[in-house]
Symmetry: D2
């Protein structure tokens, strides 16, 4: 996080990122913004408040004279920072009906004003750590922008009325060529963050890793390919599954990706644009690590490690189907596949987060950031797998080749897909 | 339910009761109206919709030509009527963010219009069963009016901001004389509903019951008396408790009635008017059957049976602290005790529902109503105890001397108190 | 418990009852005696130790000079007596592998010797309360004899090998005449214990109760009759069930009484003599209150109240199919029905405990016994229904017309059946 | 598993390993052998039967004419092999009281006889795959020998009588020098199994791995060092813990390693020789990954990766405190530390399994064994961490430098300790 920030750029970035949250939430009323569909998801209203709390807590409170007009929010909107204080129980976030949505927007406005004042008063020049916090806070907000849509989709899916976030039209996706592979030679590679741009602490330090020769598929697995796995009874054959995955399949009665429903021979899926037919040419999404791994085993392939994925993505500019582009084009906020913004021969970014075979762990020599912000990444380093590349709900500019997302292996509500390796 | 209804009275009653729901909900915005604090409680918005569903399902659908503009609500707002169809899972009512609060009010308006049309078109004269359903539906709505405030209080109590439903002022209550008893001789009494006025099926048939001589306290147990029980370590002495009650005390770490908090020597309680000091002269409220029973045993007394309570209340007009009167007087919606509207020497109605020692069971010769409406009462006749008399959140006119409320013995979120017998 | 006991009779009774426990357990080896199939059931070894603990704690420890060679058993084998001290957690009784079965028998032998010594030394003459404890302890042991077989059956049923307790031969039962009813007039009856013989505190005080005219079936419901309920889809029609019963049916996937299995058109049941065909003429057994109540509603009848049952049984000597008689006749320890030991026109005792419609509650004026023994009955007076009459695993002499057994409404592992009333 | 086995050696090995199970179980009676203390642990009797089932299923059933006299054991003692058939539910193994312990020994004797016959009849020469199964089965049995003691300890610890497996005497351990480190240079290393000796499929293929320079402590962390962590409030400071670890500490109320108890200033621990004082010079044991990781962070160090551990152990003969040696020396079956059988400067084997920082995952190019035996390792590759080196309950000869044990991060009942790296 040794990022150099020019104050005027910082102020612009701040406005741009914060306003994008407002833009994302514009279609959402107080009822949709209040409810919490499960402990792992949070209400939209909470996301709007918590991202604001982050700036208030870590930026404004650097000034010892700062007095918040909302002192009880310090407790209420702390997500998991033990060093800041106790936290309101996560599974009960849907019960915090106050502040209302309007009051939450007012809280945002208040903090935005104070942050603008502080920047104008030279905080960032005076206090380089504050500049780093600002950048971290913006990246943090972008993560939550992604979660807003992810969590909202999960909430809306529980309503038999199947309401849409936006009523966009689906167009058939263009087919991708199957079974095309990129080959990488055995070598001692370097992975991890390098340079002055912002990156999370978990992307460092840059380090060497030996990889044997490997191949990576040119495109993510599609819905059509996944339907073949279903047709081959993939969900009822334990030999493809990890033991815990198989237990989950049976306990949760999984027979398809999350949000998919079968009527006769037709499959449809609930999307942010309401219920839609499953499009065989779009990347499959909302599969757990267990399903991704089982699919790969059934295919005679495997998932790539995160090192392999990163080597393939090295030095690429992340372009692809991100949320900004989809909204701008009035397209559904949904994995599209196809050729938009394609990088040179590889569609590694956007559309779906790609499960890797790598458990989320510290890089050799990893050091968490000091203080409360050190609770950002390191303490989640168990029981999770790394996903790479960003998805259709990710803001452009948020991901990098070295970016590490992570979720537990049973999680399906985020936009997780997969790419094969061998 | 062989009630004779004049159509014009019916139309007036309908309007009056329905509008009272609107009045109760007027201070509540969409956020507060959406959330569900536990499976046993329901969102305000759901109460508003479900009571409307009742009239649509059981009154409007009597007309085979009726076509609802909201066909999916039939499933969505069915509470527990198996003979009507499947039900949306109760614990997920807080996830049904649509219809919004405004859409819910529109649904009410639509149904109210159609009911008014039907009455004007002579439905009640033509179809006496429809008249009975109308009356049942109004009593049903009154029950839900009570639950709206009960459930809302529970929801608001989870918010560390402790928001109030209404910001009423608390005045100190007047002390009641302690240890005054009414005595009733041994005799063969009659209890149960008699006459043409509306009553639920579970209040019938009227039947004979032999009671030995007994005494009933003149007033409900007060907060001050209950504080003595707490001071006597009542919550940590198993000898006062039923076995399952004692297990509950330990598992749930109960040390006082629900909503009570101790700071130093002071006790306060969360109320619909926000946090307030515990007033020793008000009736104690939000105690479970287990606590009521333990308090009675510690006192050397016991709880009355429902027959004893009913004999004491027989032929009395229910007056007391009900929600209409409290709102009209700008007093807090909270048990007040004292002398308002006191019946001749007995304060049996209003303030708090009084736990009785009687399990909720069928009277000899009980017959549930035929059809779906027969699911109203009989199928809940196990695992619950009877409470009598109505409370500060009950609409006046809803209770009778024969009225039987019922809750499981661990329930505390409704306004349950107690009166001693011996 | 104001029973007058002659010491020599007491010593004889003591030996007889204690030895019957040994007789019941004789076929059981250490493995079967150790395991616990669910929290509600206990290992045989625990029953053998706990009944001994009862005599040591409440009889031998009356002597202040008594020093137990097994001081740690005071904690280990206390079932639920809070006033004696803390209790080892009930769900973990199967983990107490020591004392071994042999050591447990040695504990029994030691305590039996000391009790015999105390009786010989005149304890019972000197200390009338001790005499009462002795009688209570023997009744307590008889209850546990019944539980030994009940719990053992439940344990053995979990083993796919389906081992038998005893390999007795089943003979076809004799058919009973259906639809025969006894009629009782409306009157003010007296129920509850009277006289000097032993009875539990919950059978007192004797009290008056008004009953309207009622009819009681002459025999318990048979397996054949219950098969008709199954064939009529009784387990899939919610209209017959209490709400909580219906939820239980669906959650637990009940389709028949516990231990019953269907293969094609044939039904068999697991018994203490291994798997056997369901005999249509034997009384149905191992049904919950929910099933008994649903069957009664389907039949157009209802369950009797415990008062009604007791009025019918009043002044009868309890004879019928009890465990002693079945063992003596080398017949299976299983409800037989038929004509053995039939009382005058009523088969009210033995075979199956009969569910009544009455919640288990205190009689008017009930006073628990003082001290620790007061924890015997009263503290269980919620959430349970009364059963009457004894069953095929009950020792003869243990039940009376006034005897009140009780279980929660979902319980099926004890020998519960039903008799209709109307 | 391409091991070449001489039949006479195989027969000898078979006898030796099988008889060692009998030796381990000799002090255990039927009660101790029957109970199951938690779903993750199994009864001793089950271990004895399941290891026998393994030989019957995978060796004897290779002969199509083989007919088992115990056909129902195929289902009853299948642990998790889906391709063999359904499995008896693991959490209920303690309810399988039959076969009895004696019958289980008879089953062992029967299968041992048939295996001996088959070897004598030339099975291993005729069928090289059978020879591989035999060797696998013996390694499988050694794993279960370790689990027998591990699970038995857990069971006995639940009994307030705290019975001992063997009444051995504890001697004070010799202090180890603290803060001694071995240094390894950065290099491209090879790890994984090589050669003809038996190894599990998860130890292959041998592969290259780049390691930066690292240091490994010369000895495992001792109880004394762990007491310093406790004294430093290690269990109440979230900054040392993974997020899920911290949640576990609070939910489970962990304040010390499993089996440790504090009385005043003294710490004792339950061992296979009963309760003993905590010896500061013995290696700490029964800590979870969460505790190991928190201790390491508190120390300013970290856990080694499994590659680092294996590089340090490469080419060493595993000697140390294993169960055979401890039993032979009449020493407690407990981590001893000290200098027995010390390898050249490193105490890497025996005493305690050492947690590594590595999630249990497939080596690059990993292929599970074909058929049912392929279910042995690969399907458990998620949610677990690798432990290395063997422990005081491991049979000598069972572990290797490449041996990979694995457990979930919260597990504490196996003999898990740790060694620091940096």
């Amino acid at each position: 996080m040794s990022t150099i920030v020019s104050p005027s750029v910082a102020a612009d970035d701040y406005l741009r990122v914060r306003q994008f949250s407002d833009l994302l939430c514009a279609p959402i009323g107080p009822e949709d913004a209040t409810a919490q569909s499960m402990p792992e998801a949070s209400p939209l209203k909470w996301h709007l408040a918590h991202t604001t709390w982050f700036f208030e807590t870590f930026l404004l409170r650097r000034d010892d004279h700062y007095r918040s007009p909302f002192p009880e929010y310090e407790y209420l909107f702390n997500s998991y920072y033990n060093s800041v204080g106790k936290q309101f129980p996560r599974p009960q976030r849907g019960l915090v009906t106050r502040p209302t949505l309007d009051e939450t927007y007012a809280y945002r406005e208040y903090v935005d004003g104070r942050v603008a004042d502080a920047i104008a008063a030279g905080l960032l020049e005076r206090d380089p750590a504050a500049a780093a916090v600002l950048v971290l806070g913006l990246n943090h907000e972008q993560q939550h922008q992604e979660l807003m849509l992810t969590d909202l989709k999960h909430l809306l899916s529980h309503n038999p009325l199947e309401p849409a976030y936006r009523a966009d039209q689906f167009q058939p996706a263009t087919p991708a060529d199957r079974d095309q592979w990129l080959t990488f030679p055995a070598a001692l590679y370097e992975t991890g963050h390098i340079g002055d741009e912002f990156a999370y602490d978990n992307e460092s330090p840059r380090h060497r890793v030996w990889l044997e020769e490997f191949q990576l598929a040119k495109h993510p697995v599609t819905c059509g390919e996944f339907l073949e796995f279903i047709a081959a009874d993939g969900y009822s054959r334990p030999e493809f599954w990890l033991s815990e995955g198989w237990a989950t399949v049976q306990r949760e009665c999984w027979t398809a990706p999350l949000y998919w429903t079968q009527h006769g021979d037709d499959w449809s899926e609930f999307t942010l644009a309401g219920r839609q037919p499953v499009d065989p040419h779009r990347p499959v999404c909302h599969v757990s690590y267990f399903e991704a791994d089982a699919f790969a085993r059934w295919s005679g392939a495997r998932l790539p490690t995160e090192s392999q994925w990163e080597v393939a993505a090295a030095a690429q500019i992340p372009t692809g189907n991100f949320v900004d582009a989809l909204l701008a084009a009035d397209e559904p906020v949904h994995p599209a596949g196809g050729v938009r913004d394609e990088g040179p021969a590889r569609r590694l970014f956007g559309d779906v987060w790609e499960w890797t075979a790598s458990s989320y762990a510290a890089y050799p020599g990893y050091q968490p950031a000091p203080g409360a912000l050190g609770e950002y990444n390191g303490k989640f380093m168990n029981g999770q797998y790394v996903l790479r590349g960003g998805a259709a709900i990710t803001p452009v500019g948020h991901v990098r080749p070295t970016y590490r997302n992570f979720f537990p292996p049973h999680a399906r509500w985020m936009f997780g897909g997969l790419r094969l390796a061998r």
